[in-house]
């Protein structure tokens, strides 16, 4: 049996119903598909056709999920899984490379305007991840928003749709999470909590 939309969808639905092991089976499939899409993404990137950043995940979703039985919630779950995976992949890769070079992580996401980030013009993904883990303990919704927006490139509207909250809430939480995370990883002094 190939990972047909039907059985992948079954897993997704299974997981949605609380079947934890379905997630374990789903992860490798989604990972595999994301990788395929990543290859396509980079190919296109190289020939100058910049894809929408969300295209990667959307494409994986369209390929893997049969919408026959899928509910809105399942779609949200899928994006959630993909976002988690993207985050983990990025962080893992940064860590691995960092270990190899002993010089700290070199996976850095370039910032479009440099003026703001005084410490480093690039973003340390590992540090961001650690800060995000702390944020998750304080405000899970904010950390999810960051995961979807930053690690998966979803727009405000898409993030709102996945989390089933309003775009206004996403915007608000994003603003605060951004400030909080920036403070955490830029090492600025902050009061005790």
């Amino acid at each position: 049996m190939a990972p047909t939309p039907t059985n992948v969808t079954q897993l997704l639905i299974g997981w949605g119903k609380g079947d934890r092991e379905a997630l374990d089976r789903l992860l490798p499939i989604v990972y595999d598909e994301l990788r395929r899409q990543a290859a396509r993404y980079l190919r296109r990137e190289r020939v100058g056709h910049t894809l929408q950043t969300t295209a990667l995940i959307h494409e994986a979703y369209l390929r893997l999920i049969d919408q026959k039985n899928v509910e809105w919630q399942n779609r949200a779950q899928f994006f959630g899984i993909a976002a988690q995976l993207m985050r983990r992949i990025l962080v893992d890769h940064a860590r691995t490379k960092g270990r190899a070079k002993r010089g700290g992580s070199d996976i850095r996401v370039s910032l479009s305007d440099a003026e703001a980030f005084v410490i480093n013009k690039e973003l340390d993904v590992v540090a961001l991840n650690e800060a995000l883990e702390r944020l998750e303990l304080i405000d899970e919704q904010q950390s999810k928003i960051v995961e979807l927006r930053f690690f998966s490139g979803l727009t405000v509207e898409e993030t709102a749709s996945v989390l089933n909250i309003s775009p206004a809430t996403v915007k608000r939480d994003w603003r605060m999470a951004k400030a909080w995370l920036y403070r955490e990883i830029s090492g600025e002094v902050h009061p005790d909590e």
């Binding site: 049996m1 092991e21 190899a100 927006r149 775009p167 951004k178 830029s186």
Partner: protein
């Protein structure tokens, strides 16, 4: 986080957000005030604000590009010749979600090895990695000729764990089963060796947990090697409570075989209870069964089906698939496949003994050379495309006995070589299936089970835009898919066009004129277009015309039929169509001669059950014209649902096939798939804001074909059902405010493109509106300059039509949060929602009485006639205030009048403006221009002085606001916009006019099924 900290965080959030809303100069003062007495909070807020200002574009560019690089990073690293410790990569031999497998050279020992690299999401999970390493170490201690040897578990220099194992030259058992005929002796040989491998493992305390053909390698010399001992645990999740593990399905690493394990899982694995050696015995039983029968014992279309079969169903006897199965083999397999572990072989040694003795017996009887593949399933696959477990089993059984007996006889004579007889049987089966099909048609069956070999329709689609002007209203495609006809609206006039799909050639069939098209459809042969057209814009009436497709200069002929467009029978002798009879509240299915003579009513269905939901739904003739089928729409409190109705013309027998139980809002055009295996329609799912294209299959499936933030109207299929055309509608708008009604000074207060509907002014000077730009229709408020947007509803399905009570305490609106649209009210800030109306049909468009004590609203009875009601704001029993076909009430600010759109409900009757005195109950009416295009939700609004009513006139194709004085006289044009549509408008008490204006683009799109 403790609740104290939680409170602190919440407060911090509030203050931070509020501070950001403050103008820069006032911010610090604001913080000082709000944080008075809480220096910790102040410090924290200030610190966050500083970070916020510095953060700039931090995280604004998503990390997707970097993630994509990372995703591929590991793979890029291992290239041919590259070294992983002392292993040199020779080739990638397999990859998938479970990592990559490389062929590599051990440069120290000079031997070839297989390297399995784990994907980072596993190797970076310390818990999983630890378990994996423990298992792999235990497995590496196994030394048995049938167990693939694990040489080493190690890590690359950059920290990626890998396993170096014996490289086996050969094929997987899966491949072996596919490649060549497997003889009974081969099957037993392989099973014996797997059993031996398991025995060694079990004695070492290792349970494989994932025995399946993909994990068994057959070496060229016939040696069997079992792979991946212990690796199954890798994907298992530990159940910490009792220390047992809940098993999962191993996902194989080779592409194309993912999830192959479902069928090999034991019942105890399927049920998630503890597993032991007996699980491996079960899986070996399944593998053996499959090798001999050529068929999996537990099959299903989905893993869920398979799991249910494993837990609940007994496998068919192997004799179902193969003749002359040694009874001892059947018994052996049955014993391995006992659901209850206690009834199964208890140790694999027992099973190995039985396998060996069976092998010996058969050897003595020289039966081992019997060819047992290709099996019947393979043969059938050639005939029907793919196996459909259930259906085929039924049919095989249906014609089993004689045929099987015949094959038995040949078998005996031909000395065990089965191949020919299997082919013969397959041919028989094919003939049999054909006969069933033909006989079925003869007897009259219209609706066939969808063939499983065909992918569900429109699972993957290609979309082609056929028009780009944004002014298409309806479209239809010829049955051969060559032509698309569409109605275009320009400057208030509508015209009919024909486009050749391939060449893009365009032909105007009916030139622009006043009036309104109601729908269009091609004749089944594609040579005529039927279209509905109303010369005036009143009501739903109108006439049907037909016009030849390619005869230029031909004029349309009026066809003397009312209502739905007719469908010509295959023999061209009869027409069938649907008539909606409003007076009798029923839909009828009719037939007539092609010239419309000899009309006959076949069947009448009473509303609310409806034959069709749109003017252009047509019945379909069965092959041979013995019957008619068409979609049937029903509704209940939770929405609309669709069935397929079929009628046998000979005996007038009806059959109703229910489709998906899913409920929809507003199903639009519903078209039957040509083979009646389902319908395509445009509809809104419950709670969705956008009307999308849906496919409903007679297997009960429901799938959204389109998935975006546009509306689709009508989905008309080609004859082969491989494409359909639809009209994609996109709506974008902005809000404009004109002070004291001076439209020339109107200023745009929102920017960008949003979706703003149902504007209303609150007494406090704020604007309340509905928007579905985020995908769900919610209510919002904003200041009169467009700032300070605040969302008032969320996560409660769709919400429209807000109005604010005169004392600014409540907002009344309609929402379908409880099922269908009902009137609700909530506090002005969005809190405390209270449902004011209930029942099985919709209530919409609330209006507060001038004293705020009542809410007027429109109520649809049986989904047809609109009547006006009122209900106390504090809740209570609704009272009817106006009978008849009256919609969209508007209460005058001075409390004296209730205005509405009025129609006497008869075909072709015109909409008028109704004005009821709330003091006397007397109703007077005013005529409006046909260009007003009244529909059931057309906006109607009082000017602030309560002297005039305002509505939209679409004259010249552009919306402008016109007013009608209640003292009489002709309507007056109030605004003079020269472009865009107006979606909504409202006057504030102090006479400011707000209007939502924007564009609606409607384009014809061709959607083709990319999966067929």
């Amino acid at each position: 986080m403790s609740s104290v900290n939680q409170q602190h965080w919440q407060r911090l959030k509030e203050v931070f957000e509020a501070a950001l809303e403050q103008p820069g100069g006032k911010r610090s003062q604001f913080i000082e005030e709000v944080c008075a007495g809480n220096p910790a909070l102040r410090k924290e807020v200030n610190s966050l604000l500083r970070s916020y200002e510095k953060a700039g574009s931090f995280m604004e560019a998503p990390a997707v590009a970097a993630a994509a690089e990372s995703l591929l990073g590991q793979q890029d690293k291992l290239t041919v010749g590259q070294k992983l410790k002392h292993y040199e990569i020779i080739a990638l031999i397999g990859e998938g979600g479970m990592g990559e497998v490389y062929l590599a050279k051990d440069t120290i020992l000079g031997r070839r090895v297989a390297l399995k690299l784990l994907p980072p999401y596993i190797s970076n999970d310390p818990d999983r990695l630890l378990r994996f390493k423990q298992e792999a170490r235990t497995a590496s201690s196994l030394s048995h000729p049938n167990v693939c040897v694990i040489h080493e578990i190690s890590e690359s220099d950059d920290g990626r764990p890998f396993i170096a194992m014996e490289y086996i030259e050969g094929v997987t058992l899966r491949q072996r089963m596919k490649d060549s005929g497997m003889k009974l002796g081969d099957a037993l040989d392989i099973a014996v060796q797997i059993a031996d491998a398991l025995r060694a493992a079990h004695e070492a305390g290792i349970v494989h947990r994932d025995i399946k053909p993909e994990n068994v390698m057959i070496r060229r010399d016939g040696y069997v090697k079992v792979l991946d001992f212990g690796l199954a645990k890798l994907t298992e999740r530990r159940n910490i409570g009792d220390g047992k593990t809940i098993s999962t399905l191993m996902v194989n690493s080779s592409p194309g075989s993912v999830m192959g394990t479902a069928g090999y899982m034991s019942p105890e694995q399927a049920r998630g209870i503890g597993v032991d050696e007996r699980t491996d015995i079960w899986s070996l039983g399944v593998v053996l069964y499959e090798m001999v029968a050529g068929h999996a014992p537990f099959a299903g279309l989905t893993p869920t089906d398979v799991v249910i079969a494993i837990v609940e169903k007994d496998q068919p006897a192997i004799a179902q698939y193969v003749a002359d199965v040694p009874p001892e083999l059947e018994r052996l397999v049955k014993k391995a496949l006992r659901k209850d572990t206690d009834e199964r072989y208890q140790i694999v040694k027992e099973m190995a003994i039985d396998l060996r003795s069976l092998r010996k017996d058969l050897e003595r009887d020289s039966q081992l050379e019997r060819s047992i593949i290709p099996s019947i399933s393979t043969a059938i696959r050639g005939v029907t495309g793919e196996e459909n477990g259930k259906a085929n089993t039924g049919r095989e059984r249906g014609i089993d006995t004689d045929e099987l007996a015949a094959s038995r006889r040949t078998t005996v004579a031909s000395g065990f070589v089965r191949e020919r007889s299997w082919r013969g049987r397959a041919a028989w089966l094919a003939v049999g299936l054909l006969l069933i099909g033909v006989a079925g048609l003869g007897v009259y069956t219209f609706i066939k089970k969808p063939q499983v070999n065909i992918a569900p329709p429109f699972q993957r689609i290609n979309v082609t835009k056929l028009t780009t002007n944004g002014n298409a209203l309806f479209a239809s495609i010829s049955p051969d898919g060559k032509y698309v006809a569409y109605v275009k609206s320009e400057g208030g006039q509508e015209s009919l066009w024909l486009r050749q799909v391939e060449s893009a050639g365009l032909l105007e069939i009916v030139p622009p004129k006043e009036g309104r098209y109601l729908g269009l459809t091609f004749s089944p042969e594609g040579n005529f277009i039927y279209y509905g057209y109303a010369a005036t814009t009143d009501n739903n009436g109108g006439d049907i015309y037909k016009i030849p497709v390619l005869a230029t200069g031909a004029s349309a002929i009026k066809v003397d039929l009312k209502d739905g467009p007719p469908r010509l029978s295959h023999d061209g002798k009869r027409l069938a169509w649907v008539r909606h009879d409003r007076e009798k509240q029923s839909d009828m299915l009719l037939v007539a001669r092609p010239d419309a003579s000899d009309e006959q009513i076949l069947i009448t269905r009473k509303w609310p059950e409806r034959f069709a939901w749109d003017w252009s739904t047509t019945p379909a003739w069965t092959e041979g014209d013995q019957g008619l089928a068409l979609p049937l729409v029903n509704s209940d409190a939770s929405g609309f649902y669709i069935s397929i109705y079929e009628l046998n013309l000979a005996d007038r027998k009806e059959r109703i096939i229910p489709l998906a139980s899913q409920r929809f809002e507003q199903p639009n055009l519903i078209s039957l798939l040509p083979d009646a295996t389902g319908v395509m329609m445009t509809a809104k799912a419950q709670g969705a804001s956008f009307e999308q294209v849906w496919y409903l299959g007679i297997d009960g499936s429901a799938r959204r074909v389109t998935n975006d933030l546009s509306d689709y109207r009508t989905a008309i299929l080609t004859g082969d059902a491989k494409s359909f055309v639809t009209v994609q509608t996109q709506t974008l708008s902005n809000i404009w405010v004109a002070p004291k009604g001076e439209s020339v000074r109107a200023a745009q207060i929102t920017s960008g493109l949003g979706r703003y509907f149902d504007l209303t002014w609150a007494p406090d000077g704020k604007l309340i509106y509905a928007s579905d730009a985020s995908g769900s229709a919610d209510l919002y408020e904003m200041a009169a300059n467009g700032s300070h947007t605040r969302q008032l509803t969320s996560n409660v399905k769709r919400n429209y039509g807000p109005v604010v009570s005169p004392d600014n305490r409540f907002i009344a609106f309609h929402s379908n949060r409880s099922g269908i649209f009902q009137i609700w009210r909530m506090d002005r800030d969005g809190s405390n929602p209270v449902q004011l109306t209930s029942g099985n049909s919709e209530s919409n468009w609330p209006q507060f009485s001038s004293d705020g004590k009542f809410v007027f609203y429109q109520h649809f009875e049986s989904g047809v006639s609109g009547t006006l009601w009122k209900v106390p704001t504090e809740t209570g029993t609704p009272v009817k205030v106006a009978e008849g076909f009256a919609v969209r009430p508007a209460a005058s600010p001075d409390g004296r009048w209730l205005a509405f759109w009025l129609n006497d409900g008869k075909p072709n009757s015109r909409w008028r403006l109704g004005l009821m005195s709330l003091e006397t109950g007397k109703i007077e009416t005013f005529e409006v221009s046909p260009t007003v295009q009244v529909q059931w939700d057309s906006h109607l609004c009082w000017t602030s002085d309560s002297r005039s009513l305002a509505y939209l006139d679409h004259r010249g194709g552009i919306d402008n606001i016109w007013t009608q004085s209640i003292e009489g006289g002709p309507p007056r044009q109030l605004t003079n916009f020269t472009d865009l549509n107006i979606f909504s408008f409202n006057w504030s008490r102090d006479d400011n006019l707000a209007a939502s204006r924007g564009v609606i683009t409607r384009d014809v799109v061709l959607i083709t099924d990319a999966g067929r």
